[in-house]
């Protein structure tokens, strides 16, 4: 770890503190205030902002390139220069961890975005139109839910062979929307019954317009919460796939394939597996904590827990 790295890390810490403090001081409306009243919201947000900034500024906080191999220094325990040690081909674990954050957080977030969009649209369509649209879409969802997720993804990866990061993200998204669509459908069905929907319809608005403009925003709370909690699951799934050798391809680091790479050396060089595992746990913990707080904030019924 060089002086520049330390300075950069301190700067990121200060930036994180400032951002979170700023958000706390001017929360947007009631929901924001309720959000920050939740005991773990601030902690979760601090971790997330910090990790996201480290991921974005990875080149600034890493003394080595993530692919750089120092072949005289394999499986070296943590030192001042390599604060988290080196891996089996002499790559700096800290540097890979920082770059891996890009992949792991990116795949999780974008994958969830795909899933939420798709799940939201399908759920809204099914809930609003009902009838055979609903029956057809929900049977598809039933099928999707009746195949275990990891089989589905493993089979899909076998189907398309070598997947890039982008394709993997889309794939995770495409197999992750079933549950979301059910939640949204239920919300939409209840929103549809409310008087203002009838009012809008009476004014002659087109069905799709009603769904997009009026029904979806009203069920967005469910959508946001399911997304926040889903990113963590997405990350865990990506890690599991990489562990089975079907996820992110080398030399690109992801937290999952770092665990897989270090598995052989678990007894002799535990740091190569331990730190990426803890990183996943920390990130998913923060996501779950934030998701909890969001749910409480957006759903006043259960607020104040």
């Amino acid at each position: 770890m060089t002086a520049a790295t330390i300075v950069a890390l301190i700067a990121i810490a200060v930036w994180t503190g400032t951002v979170v403090a700023w958000c706390r001081r001017r929360p947007w409306g009631d929901a924001g205030r309720r959000f920050f009243r939740h005991p773990s919201a601030t902690k979760g947000m601090v971790v997330l902002v910090f990790l996201a900034t480290v991921a974005l500024c990875a080149p600034l906080v890493t003394p080595f390139a993530p692919y750089q191999q120092i072949l005289t220094l394999q499986d070296h325990p943590p030192t001042w220069l390599h604060p988290l040690g080196t891996d089996f081909i002499g790559r700096d674990v800290w540097s890979r961890l920082a770059y891996g954050a890009r992949v792991s957080l990116g795949v999780g977030t974008l994958g969830m975005l795909v899933a939420v969009t798709l799940g939201g649209l399908v759920g809204a369509a099914a809930g609003y139109f009902r009838g055979w649209t609903d029956a057809l879409l929900m049977r598809c969802v039933d099928i999707g839910l009746s195949i275990p997720r990891i089989f589905l993804v493993l089979a899909a990866i076998a189907l398309w062979g070598k997947l890039g990061v982008g394709a993997l993200t889309v794939l995770l998204g495409l197999t992750g929307w079933f549950a979301t669509s059910r939640i949204v459908r239920a919300e939409v069905m209840s929103v549809r019954e409310r008087p203002y929907t009838d009012a809008v319809r009476a004014l002659g608005a087109r069905p799709w317009w009603i769904v997009l403009r009026h029904v979806l925003p009203n069920s967005s709370a469910a959508l946001i919460v399911s997304a926040a909690l889903g990113i963590g699951n997405m990350m865990l799934l990506e890690a599991g796939l990489s562990f089975l050798g079907a996820g992110i391809r080398p030399p690109q680091p992801s937290w999952g394939n770092m665990i897989a790479d270090g598995r052989d050396q678990l007894a002799t060089a535990p740091w190569t597996t331990l730190f990426p595992g803890l990183a996943i746990a920390l990130a998913v913990m923060a996501l779950n904590a934030t998701g909890d707080a969001l749910r409480d904030a957006l759903d006043p019924k259960t607020g104040g827990k």
């Binding site: 773990s40 099928i143 009746s146 076998a158 599991g240 562990f243 595992g277 913990m285 259960t302």
Partner: protein, 323 residues
């Protein structure tokens, strides 16, 4: 009612049919071919061709598809390529192992989860609650396979308390008395079941705590308190009864997991269950075995939801059967 039931069964069969068909085409069209030995001995292309003839893979896909469902209708799931024996036998060998592992894991999951949740709700927002909340959140957020690796390293390799994997000790098992065999099984079960159970318990505890706190906010609880009941009695006798229902529904969701198993855990602990069977079948392109496991998993899910619906109808006459 009967008409509803018949329609529902027909829909379930249709779902199974579509799922298996999709899997059929997906796995056959996937790149890669069966009969690839897992080690470095190259296969002679002539032998591969002969094997394709034997298993009918040289026929057009449509013919294979019709044949597969024809055989299925007669109750045959075909011969596994990688195990050189009927798929039914391979699955029958894996089911008990998976059931043992997942059922034990679910028991650990719910016992531990419910107890922790109860304890936390009793001391809500006190220091012990916050500490436990952090612990449960931590376990809930862990990659299970990572926890498995760490537990294996620490408890099996370093401390030598438990075996590193496998469901029994092949040397001693056969010569042990009945109780000894049972003990041997349990002894091998501890680490894999604990890994799955701990991660699950993290989630269940959080769920149970939330459900309890919600129940505690209800009016009848206030009534109970007003009557002067002890806080512990209020919690256990009144609130818990109410808050157990959502947890039981959570268990319902977890039921298919009994059969699909846990691919990653079974891999780490060399546990010959259905999850590992399916993952191995996919990587060996063992088409009949992939289809067989998919069929089983789908049936489990579909059957589960059918039973759940039936129970709902039976329990709540307000639910209209026309839905």
């Amino acid at each position: 009612m009967l008409a509803w039931l018949l329609r529902r069964i027909a829909a379930s069969l249709a779902i199974v049919f579509v799922t298996v068909s999709l899997t059929f085409f997906a796995i056959h069209l996937a790149p890669g071919r069966p009969f690839m030995p897992p080690d470095e001995r190259p296969m002679n292309p002539i032998v591969v061709h002969r094997l394709e003839q034997i298993y009918g893979l040289d026929r057009p896909l449509a013919v294979q598809y019709v044949r597969y469902f024809g055989a299925l209708a007669r109750g045959e799931m075909g011969e596994s390529f990688s195990q050189r024996r009927p798929v039914a036998h391979a699955i029958a060998d894996a089911v008990p192992n998976t059931l043992l592992l997942t059922a034990t894991a679910l028991v650990i999951d719910f016992t531990l989860g419910i107890l922790i949740g109860l304890f936390q709700a009793a001391r809500a927002r006190r220091r012990s609650d916050v500490a436990l909340a952090n612990v449960t959140l931590f376990f809930y957020s862990l990659p299970t396979f990572w926890l498995a690796l760490v537990l294996q390293l620490v408890c099996a390799l370093w401390l030598g308390w438990f075996p590193t994997g496998g469901p029994t000790d092949p040397v001693m098992h056969a010569s042990l008395p009945l109780l000894g065999r049972l003990g041997d099984r349990l002894y091998h079960l501890v680490l894999p079941a604990l890994t799955l159970g701990l991660v699950g318990a993290g989630g269940t505890a959080r769920f149970q705590r939330a459900a309890l706190l919600e129940a505690l906010g209800h009016d009848y609880i206030r009534t109970a308190r007003a009557k002067g009941l002890a806080e512990s009695a209020v919690l256990v006798r009144h609130a818990w009864r109410d808050a157990l229902l959502p947890v039981i529904s959570l268990a319902g969701v977890a039921l298919p997991f009994l059969l699909t198993g846990a691919v990653l855990i079974e891999t780490v602990f060399s546990w010959p269950g259905l999850g590992k069977l399916a993952a191995d079948a996919i990587s060996a392109r063992d088409y009949p075995l992939v289809l067989g496991t998919t069929l089983l998993a789908t049936c489990a899910v579909v059957l589960g939801s059918l039973v759940a619906d039936l129970l709902t109808v039976a329990a709540d006459p307000r639910v209209r059967v026309t839905a």
